[in-house]
Symmetry: C2
Subunit: 217 residues, 2 copies
């Protein structure tokens, strides 16, 4: 009576536990460095049991990466919540920062996968991501046409956003080392998020500054 709906199938629950353990081990040791024995141990199951659910290490890795992909897409959708450049960018950058902060392991696996040349998610790059970038680039270009963003190549803006937000997962250890070994506090992280958002927004804002209005030359 305590668990009527909670009664998840044994299969689903075991897979979840294994994938979760795999994520940690892959993130720490890389694909080749991760051993199925270590993953099984972390998940609390015998190695043979792991291979009962995921026949090969690559299968398991793929499951992990697909989980990350879901999170990536969820964060990406926050770009579309507003038509205002400042608001859209702030939301998107904020979502990506939060993703890096709350799922550092996933984020690191994602970065590694990209760096390895995307052996598993090549298809995603060529289809979903390409379309996403294409569509959002069109939005940015409209902003530029409307004079709400200075003339830039949208892709390079996205690269900057991806890199900078990812940094807070990838380089968390480095950042901690520069804070006497202590990881960024929530307050520091929020300050960093704010600064990243403001810097990028100001960085792509139309130049109203040095010269009051653009000359016609």
């Amino acid at each position: 009576m305590d668990k009527p709906l909670v009664k998840i199938s044994i299969r689903a629950e075991n897979q979840r536990a294994i994938v979760e353990a795999a994520e940690a081990v892959f993130a720490e040791a890389g694909f080749k460095g991760a051993t199925t024995a270590a993953i099984a141990a972390k998940a609390g199951v015998p190695k043979a049991n792991l291979h009962y659910y995921f026949s090969t290490k690559e299968d398991l890795y793929r499951a992990v990466v697909e989980r990350v992909l879901t999170a990536w897409l969820a964060a990406a959708s926050s770009f579309d919540e507003s038509d205002d450049p400042r608001e859209a960018l702030a939301r998107y950058i904020g979502a990506k920062m939060d993703l890096a902060r709350s799922m550092p392991l996933s984020s690191r696996i994602w970065a590694t996968e990209i760096m390895r040349g995307a052996p598993v998610i090549q298809d995603f790059l060529d289809t979903t991501l390409a379309q996403w970038v294409e569509q959002r680039s069109r939005i940015v270009r409209r902003w530029i046409a409307d004079g709400r963003v200075r003339p830039i190549e949208p892709k390079y803006l996205f690269y900057m956003i991806w890199a900078t937000t990812q940094q807070y997962a990838n380089a968390a250890h480095e950042m901690a080392s520069l804070e006497n070994g202590r990881p960024l506090t929530d307050e520091q992280f929020e300050a960093a998020k704010k600064q990243v958002i403001e810097t990028i927004i100001a960085g792509v804002a139309p130049q109203t500054g040095r010269r009051a209005s653009p000359s016609q030359t």
Copy 2:
């Protein structure tokens, strides 16, 4: 008679060839994934010969990482070539972008090392890098005090610069996928470099824009 000065010691030349091969293999396969056999093959020497010069794989990895560190420091020094925020940042970002472009393998190894928690360069993080950041942060704070940079935490600015420039090595494959499989041309890369520099400089510039001059409130 043909090689009076060229006659580098056998030792130095072999070490160089091995380290170069190691860099490629480590970058492609990660530390654990790289095999000494593969490195030896790429360097054109028998595996036993590799172990004659580098007794363990870790020794070899350390040699590779130290080579990268040299390049990192060289690029870092370009920050100090000017006292003007715009010029210093432009030079530094440009140097880091060029580093990522010209030494993508090194850059990727560096990124991986950072992501792994810097097992080899921890000492560098705690000493040299910490000092570098401390000193340059002081410079940035002076710029802020002089009203030449808006109030920011210098560290988060450096994180952004490191991440964004590194991106052009780490994610070269992803970028190519978004250009129909073709890597960034030199022209595209130069445009990206320009955009990154301008975006960051505008992003940290004092707000002369929306409101002409800061109020006293």
